[in-house]
């Protein structure tokens, strides 16, 4: 199991202004890393850096296994455009193969085959001809996950994948991601969800206000001061939700 990515004291930002600094972490093949952090802590900037769209301002970022932009399959947050987009599931999954095409205008048989096998792997084969906008939130995320898997088979970066899903669909999606991880795919997930993160992830990277609060295994995280503080926090949040429902 080799290192995928090693970050040594990197700072990220735009045009001179630093958004987040002092990040030290490593990702090894087969990891399930969860990046926790509040809004505005620099998570989306870190996503861009991981995808190779944004170079660090300072520090060292070594990516032995991720040679170029596109080696990570990306599951972005949904945009408003997609909610009423007339597109079949097959068309969307197939568009994940597009980076392989380069300048070639059409898909090859192998690429179409890859789309079919990916759809059956995620259990959405029977949805192939359905319209994306008529699917449930959980089904839509599966479709986008299939597309990401067509683009990159080894590493996935998921940006708050369960946002807007009902609890049952959330659980199903987490289980699916966990299965993918067990089959050897490295998962990097950005999330708010403390409970799910500590339940499924193997490693946690916690970013506070513009700097790193914690990086290590989930067990270490739960034992650390930061982890304890936030587990209390998450506990009270959940209680709040229960009383809302009651």
């Amino acid at each position: 199991m080799g290192d995928l990515l090693l970050c040594k004291d990197i700072a990220l930002g735009y045009e001179g202004s630093t958004v987040v600094s002092g990040l030290n972490f490593r990702i090894t093949e087969g990891d399930y890393l969860c990046i926790l952090g509040e809004n505005g802590s620099g998570k989306s900037t870190l996503i861009k850096a991981l995808l190779g769209l944004n170079k660090p301002i300072s520090g060292m970022m070594i990516q032995p296994a991720l040679k170029k932009v596109g080696d990570i399959g990306y599951l972005p947050q949904q945009t408003s455009i997609q909610r009423d987009f007339p597109a079949s599931v097959r068309e969307i999954v197939l568009s994940g193969c597009l980076p392989k095409c380069g300048l070639r205008p059409f898909y090859t048989k192998q690429e179409k085959q890859l789309a079919e096998t990916t759809m059956s792997r995620l259990g959405i084969t029977e949805l192939a001809t359905r319209c994306y906008r008529e699917l449930s939130g959980g089904q839509q995320q599966r479709v986008l996950l299939a597309r990401a898997l067509c683009a990159a088979q080894k590493t996935l970066l998921l940006d708050e994948p369960v946002t807007g899903l009902d609890p049952k669909a959330q659980l199903e999606l987490y289980e699916l991601i966990s299965e993918l991880n067990k089959s050897g795919i490295t998962i990097i997930m950005v999330s708010h969800d403390f409970t799910a993160a500590t339940r499924y992830a193997s490693h946690i990277l916690h970013i506070g206000a513009q700097h790193q609060l914690f990086f290590g295994t989930t067990a270490d995280y739960l034992a650390s001061d930061v982890g304890k503080m936030f587990s209390l926090d998450a506990g009270t949040q959940n209680e709040g939700k229960v009383s809302d429902n009651g």
Binding site: L51, G52, L53, K68, V69, G70, I72, G73, Y74, P76, T79, I81, Q82, F85, P86, A87, S88, E91, I92, L94, S95, G96, L98, P99, C101, P105, F106, Y107, T129, R130, C131, E134, L144, R147, A148, A151, A152, L157
Partner: protein, 284 residues
């Protein structure tokens, strides 16, 4: 009925009627192809803005005294298209505000230039022609038709070659960027093709009605179809059929070509809305 056929036969013995039909159908086809993308990308208004820019450019061309104004109108419209897309991304001025600004500005400038330096005695007639297309499609020369055919071939070829990329960039720009595809390049291609179509379509329906030609077929197709490919194909069919019907009607009834085509598009849109309601009710 025999009278009707005889009248048609008479009209089609004139080459200018054939020219109008060829140009009309080609423009309808091109505009509908891109219409789907523009509607879905929330760029419906870009067509409107650009057509006003083309109107302003036309006034400048008349002022300079060029015989073939395409040489001025085309570059100005293409550049504006690129600028509009850029400002949309920069967000210093909102995309819709930028479009409104440029389109109204160009309209005002064009009208003022036409009044200050009138190229003919009938200014309001000139303005009306540029805005609504009027009869200019029936006065096309052979060279106009050839330009139109070449441009249409370019637009259709570009659309077919980039079809998969255009779909992907329309559906999810962020994902495409993350996979290393230069989404901005394809946005640029979309903008340039849009500008080309608008300059082409000015002859047919005039600058005020171009948006209708781009938007209505796409919206009609989206009522009934659920995959990107079927929406594009249906939109093209609807647009070509409406243009054909519109041109025939306008020849037979003597109505203005541009607005007749647009009215046909509107009727089809409501027909499709009704159909989709019926289908939905059956399914429920």
């Amino acid at each position: 009925m025999g009278d009707f056929a005889a009248k048609l036969q008479l009209y089609f013995s004139y080459p200018f009627v054939w020219y109008a039909l060829i140009v009309g159908l080609l423009i309808a086809l091109c505009s509908s192809l891109l219409g789907v993308t523009l509607v879905l990308k929330r760029f419906s208004y870009i067509g409107d803005g650009l057509s006003h820019v083309a109107f302003g450019a036309m006034a400048i061309a008349a002022l300079v005294g060029l015989t073939n104004n395409v040489y001025i109108v085309m570059p100005i419209t293409v550049i504006s298209a690129i600028l509009l897309l850029r400002t949309g991304q920069n967000a210093k001025i909102n995309g819709d505000a930028a479009i409104a600004m440029i389109s109204v500005g160009a309209l005002a400038l064009g009208y003022m230039l036409m009044n200050l330096f009138p190229s003919s005695a009938n200014i309001s007639g000139d303005v009306c022609t540029t805005l609504f297309g009027s009869t200019s499609i029936l006065t096309l020369k052979e060279s106009d038709v050839i330009i139109c055919i070449v441009m249409s071939v370019v637009v259709i070829a570009a659309f077919l070659l980039f079809y998969n990329k255009i779909f992907a960039v329309t559906f999810d720009e962020n994902f495409m960027k993350a996979t290393g595809i230069k989404a901005n390049v394809y946005n640029l291609i979309i903008a340039i093709i849009t500008a080309l179509i608008i300059v082409l379509a000015m002859n047919l329906v005039g600058s005020l009605l171009i948006s209708a030609l781009i938007i209505f077929p796409a919206l009609s197709a989206m009522r009934l179809f659920r995959s990107f490919r079927s929406v594009v194909i249906c939109s093209a069919c609807v647009s070509v059929t409406c243009a054909g019907l519109g041109i025939f009607t306008s020849i037979m009834a003597g109505t203005p070509v541009g607005s007749t085509i647009v009215v046909t598009d509107i009727i089809v849109f409501f027909l499709f809305c009704g159909l989709s309601l019926i289908i939905r009710r059956k399914n429920v």
